[in-house]
């Protein structure tokens, strides 16, 4: 028979641990749940202090009403186009460069890899002014080129990390595969494309998924380089058009509509939803990314 002492000794720490874990989960989920709940409230419910979690009236109109001030169709299409193109660029360029750093035997390889990683330290503020002038002279301001072209040249968002991830994954694959293929007459790039890249599928997926989130949520650069509705990404549309308190930049007079607070939370939910869904279905790849890099390497 299990005694009281057994229970105290073995069950209560576990119970305590679960309480702690659930507490933590609540803290992490609270803001998201809260905004989702507010987004289906009417304004009266939101103002009513007796309503905290369960609204009196289910009000899904917020979602429909907010689409217009958000310029939803334009901004969603823009962001999707930007994100998908940049994922392609980021995956291709970082895979190729990572392969070069893994399989190549050229002098200065390790030093150059350190330089690639060191570029992470450069604060974006330092490059802001020259980028602005560069893009201005290339006539790239207010075009998606601002993000798309760098992503194809290994300068996408957090590209050094992607290159490093690919290098690490290629390093773990046996070099004998290459030797065998070379004997059969395969060239350097054929080895990359037909043998190593398919084997590094998990790295391709990880880089792609992370890039999706990074580009979908990008804000710091878009706010400087995008000034017209033509290229408005969804993060900026959430910031400018939905927020009546916002002053400044080219979007100011865009939104004469009145946006209520629950509508704003509906916009927040809409913006979050694609990343959230993607994450819930593919969380394995996000959570094992660090292990794939193999930090000790």
């Amino acid at each position: 028979m299990r005694s009281i002492r057994y229970k105290i000794r073995y069950i209560s720490p576990k119970l305590f641990l679960y309480l702690l874990l659930i507490d933590g989960a609540f803290i992490f989920l609270y803001p998201i749940l809260r905004s989702a709940v507010i987004s289906i409230m009417t304004v009266e419910d939101y103002m009513d202090p007796s309503v905290t979690w369960i609204p009196n009236h289910l009000n899904l109109r917020n979602y429909i009403d907010v689409l217009k001030p958000m310029e939803f169709v334009t901004s969603f299409a823009n962001t999707l186009k930007l994100t998908l193109t940049c994922i392609l660029g980021q995956v291709l360029s970082s895979a190729l460069v990572g392969y070069g750093f893994s399989r190549g035997k050229f002098p200065g390889k390790e030093v150059l890899m350190m330089v690639v990683l060191a570029t992470l330290v450069i604060p974006p503020q330092t490059l802001m002014i020259p980028y602005y002038i560069l893009f201005h002279n290339l006539n790239w301001l207010d075009t998606l080129n601002v993000f798309m072209v760098p992503s194809f040249f290994g300068f996408g968002i957090y590209a050094p990390l992607c290159i490093f991830l690919f290098r690490q994954v290629f390093n773990t694959l046996p070099p004998e595969l290459e030797d065998a293929a070379v004997i059969d007459g395969a060239s350097f790039f054929e080895c990359f494309w037909y043998i190593y890249l398919p084997l590094a599928k998990s790295a391709v997926i990880t880089v792609g998924l992370f890039s999706f989130v990074w580009y979908w949520n990008e804000y710091a650069r878009s706010v400087i380089f995008f000034n017209t509705i033509k290229t408005l990404p969804i993060s900026l549309s959430l910031l400018f058009s939905v927020d009546p308190g916002f002053i400044g930049s080219g979007f100011t007079s865009m939104n004469p509509n009145l946006v209520t607070y629950p509508m704003m939370m509906a916009a927040v939910t809409i913006t979050m939803l694609p990343c959230l869904l993607l994450y819930l279905f593919t969380q394995k790849y996000y959570l094992t990314a660090i292990e794939q890099v193999g930090l000790k390497g």
């Binding site: 679960y18 020259p130 300068f155 002053i247």
Partner: protein
Amino acid sequence: MKLTYKQKNVIMSYIAISPWIIGAIIFLIFPLFFSLGLSFLKWSFNGSTFIGIGNYKEALLEDRDFWYSLGITLGYGMISIPFTMLFSLVLAILVNQKVKGIGFFRVVYFLPVVAASDVVVAKIGPEIFSKMVNVTVTLETFGVRLESNIQNLISLFSAILVLGMWRVGIQMLIFLAGLQSIDPQIYEAAQIDGASWWKSLWAITMPLLAPFTVINMVFTVIESFTNIFTIARVLAHGRSITPFFMDYVYRISFEQYRLGYGAAVSWLFLGIVISFALLTYYYSQRYLITYQSNE
């Protein structure tokens, strides 16, 4: 001439990394040198004049705003780094427990990193803080210069800190990878020797975790000096009125159009961030060596 296999490999691998090299010339070396050159000029729309190190002199000797925003930024970093490290370590230990359903909790704890962009965080933020402190109003009264109001400073820092720590998932995963790399047999041996949980934490986990702590530290230094301000910015409804360095540069460059001076202060900031990252790396590396040789 026939190339040997090895020579071919060298040429081919240069071609493979050539996208990055071309990218580096266009998007890294050129912009860096351009802004370095700009920092020696007194720039204006109709012609610039070379003034040598005049911009740097002005920033270091005369500009109170420069020192103010630099102090706030570095101060925030110094406060946020230990908090972030500690919090992510606690979370990593929590999700490293071998109990049923732990996968679910890992998913939940990492979720804000994915779901909550800077804009989303800042939009939801005021809702959470409305009962404690109205951050936006704080930022507004804050303005560009803080007139020795320590109360405002504390509320601003704590708000950004809490919102930043909400997205601590990456650091948590780095620590988790570290914890999982430790051989469980060491703990078993310690338990047999009668070590308490607390004792094993200090004597086993912390030393073995040290390499991961270094990486985390460098990552957090970069994060908290460069990327965190977008939250402050959005909390201020997108206006560049926050006291952080990024907004200071933005005001100078894109509102007063003093591009030369803006480039100069950016370079000063670059130097400071890099030396901080290097110092962190160097000292923790040294600590690591002495720590491990003492065992």
